[in-house]
């Protein structure tokens, strides 16, 4: 268990943190995820990669926590994520490099879109693996990623960055 924890806990933590946006909650969740793994190790059938199995459990637990959160708290967090738009696009461009703006826009995406962007780009999950973790058909995985990127382009445009797509 120590080896498994050492190998995967950072990535599971980052995935969970991006969903729940609270470090203490994310830390609590990863210990629960690995405890579940310890309890259910015999049930692991080896059909999927271990990291895919871990992320699926982490996602389920994170969503359970989010469902328990009061609406007000969620609204506050969403507002926090997209704050600081008082600068006009030109000033924003002068103040921050493009990469920083791109990261900020990624952070301002909806939880559903953040999740798929992270799974594909950072956790290097294939179409099939994302479908398994999120519990949606493979075709939906592709279109959800497309719409996440489209939304990202819209947010960038609002920040003064026109990428010529879509």
């Amino acid at each position: 268990m120590q080896v498994l924890f050492a190998r995967h806990h950072v990535r599971v933590y980052r995935f969970t943190l991006r969903l729940v946006r609270n470090e203490a909650t994310a830390e609590d969740l990863i210990s629960e995820v690995f405890l579940d793994v310890w309890r259910q190790a015999g049930k692991f059938e080896g059909r999927a990669a271990v990291s895919t199995w871990l992320l699926a459990i982490a996602r389920f637990k994170a969503l359970s926590v989010l469902r328990r959160k009061p609406e007000q708290e969620l609204d506050d967090e969403t507002a926090e994520a997209i704050e600081d738009t008082s600068d006009n696009p030109e000033v924003a461009l002068q103040k921050k490099e493009k990469g920083a703006i791109l990261r900020k826009c990624m952070d301002a995406l909806s939880a559903e879109h953040r999740e798929i962007i992270d799974l594909v780009y950072y956790h290097e999950k294939s179409v099939e693996e994302v479908a398994e973790i999120v519990g949606i058909p493979e075709a939906t995985v592709k279109t959800r990623m497309f719409y996440a990127r489209k939304k990202l382009a819209e947010l960038l445009k609002a920040q003064g960055i026109e990428r010529g797509w879509p």
Partner: protein, 224 residues
Amino acid sequence: MNTKNKEMQEDIELLLPWHAAGTLSRRDAERVERALANDNELASRYELVREELGEAIRLNESLGAPSARAMQSLFAKIDAEPVRTPRTSFNVAAWFTGFVSSFQPRTLAYAAGAAAIAILLQAGFLANFVMQDSQGGPTLASHGTPQNGTGAYVLIRFNPQASVSDISTFLAEHKASIAGGPAAGSGLFRLKVAEKPVGQAELGAIVKRMQGNPVVGFTVPAAQ
């Protein structure tokens, strides 16, 4: 026919993020490569995807790691669990067999590639050590070259399909050496590309040159 071509083009476009991340099957990756070679517009959109990939990695890497509290909490909970009977105990051998067989070919390719590079690095270090030793006689460890010298560095992920020979040629062409990695999970290596620190523009030009090489899956400038 036109409709069919359009559908195929749309399908290829949907696959670009997975192509950039290196998680497509060989067959799909070849389809995307062919389309990119024949369609400049698609190639420019692919550059946007690579840009997103780089920033998504930076964003996630900036999140840090959990404190020791998470591990302490986990093992305290495990200790508090009721003792298991042999019938329900965790079968390490079966789990390990399942664990290894669960790896996808791509993951195995990464692991094999990382192992090969590690062997190559060890060989390089040993050869370097022997050559230094033969030239200068016995030396104290404290007199050796510093591990973290100055220079210019990039972070790089090699294409899973790249062979060790391809990577060696690439490193020689760019007068680069592996300074660290692969980072756990991400497969990112730290490459030293110049002996002295260089400006952002020059480092950007080096990264751009490297990105044109099929051996490279993804690369960004590293902090100097």
